[in-house]
Symmetry: C2
Amino acid sequence: MSHKLLIIGSMAFDKIETPFQKSDIIMGGAANYTALSAAQFGVPTAVVSVIGGDYPTSFLRLLTQRHIDISGIEIDPQDKTFYWSARYHEDMNLRDTLDTQLNVLAHFKPVVPAAFTDAQVLMLGNLHPQIQIDVLAQMTHLPFVVLDTMNYWITHTYELLEEVISKVDMITINEQEARQLTDEYSLVKAAKRILAMGTKYVVIKKGEHGALLFHEDSAFFAPALPLSEVCDPTGAGDVFAGGIVGYLTKTNDFSFENIKNAVIHGSNLASFCIESLGAERMLSLTPEDINSRLYQFRDLTQFDIKLC
Amino acid sequence: MSHKLLIIGSMAFDKIETPFQKSDIIMGGAANYTALSAAQFGVPTAVVSVIGGDYPTSFLRLLTQRHIDISGIEIDPQDKTFYWSARYHEDMNLRDTLDTQLNVLAHFKPVVPAAFTDAQVLMLGNLHPQIQIDVLAQMTHLPFVVLDTMNYWITHTYELLEEVISKVDMITINEQEARQLTDEYSLVKAAKRILAMGTKYVVIKKGEHGALLFHEDSAFFAPALPLSEVCDPTGAGDVFAGGIVGYLTKTNDFSFENIKNAVIHGSNLASFCIESLGAERMLSLTPEDINSRLYQFRDLTQFDIKLC
């Protein structure tokens, strides 16, 4: 029996401005980025999300071509797809949201397909914590759960978010959000506070500065690959999470040692995502591309310890 | 024959404010920090610098106790020691210089002690590029040279600095300075531009985000150790350089592989420096402290590559 991955998250129309270019309206949303990333591991995967009548079938085909089950994607023909627009600064760790139109997401009631209620790994993409709880409640076997969230939910639904955090195995969160969630400036202290909320692994994303993984009293660091050109960071965090859950589903090994590898795979896949506008580069990736860059990660980080 | 290390740089009185505390007037300056760091490797070391009549012998004794040759430290009894005062932001990667009084540094003519003109490794600490050139000219055998500099010299003595860069083996530079020196925002492009100036190794320091080492077409990344408390980052860059030159002098191996280890040793020693105000923690360090933290660096970064 092969192991299964379930991804919930937004599917969106995005419009993006960087210091170097502007996009048209393109495919976006955490569920799309995460699914395209996890698809590199070839595990049975389903997406639970919602789209409007305006969402093109060509975008859905990008998922079905990769054998991703879309039966859990609700189509609301009377409403429009979630829309998000943002502008990046020269320091692309910073961006301003220009427009957010929830549309179909405002009244989304997720339904997990029966074939995936026993998935081994569940990615709870960034959505209202109540939706995340509703999905968790539909699982018939307890999966390994990875949670993503954002500043909006920390501000507006703190208690509910705390409840979700206590029920998941891992949270991925960026450094500003980790500070906001815990009122701690030090990321080490912030991670300890989040671990104390009841989750086992905390991954703090630092964009071009890499990601820190915390577990009990241990830490692990995955750098971001130094790149000459960053085209567009949109979706990098979701691709990063997709690499983690895809790799964990494939290996079905949830030890700390293997989770280190998962984080490296996530960072590796994210390094491709930022090379193009939107998800474009994710669509042309080959296993050779991925493996050759994994060797770059090894060369970037591995050394023979020699004592003083 | 044991290998020798020569360090030139400032010796200073510092006054430091952080969000948490204010120091009195304390011992500072790149030469002091670098020498105390390199001293951990027990190699014959000399410092070339200048101090005023107001510099206490108790500070000099901190060097002589560690068998550091101070015969190259000029004492100008008619003038005052270099003074520097700064205030750190909550994000301690940022600081404002409150006061700089060059004093003795304004008319410093470095003289390398005869016993160290054949040193195998030379650290050119942050000073006027002309002083750095004057020291280079006194060396009778070509050493492995590591250069540090700062924004002031990039702005005011660009051509002279370019000349020094072309003559050294390695430069350590922070990310803002790397961008200023090359007009490139991408650190990968900036490093390539600096390598093209004629140096073999470029180390870009990113503070709490670690350091990147570039050589030819390769890169290596040394993270900073994630710490609960940062007390005072003053001197961390000089201690980092001290770890590099101390380790290289001890091992006398200037291959890329060994320079990776040197950068890890530098990052390791810098992690101690920021735990106390000024250089205090550097004075109480033991080999056990250092080696146990090297193992933390290993755990933080090492993984078994597993392909996709």
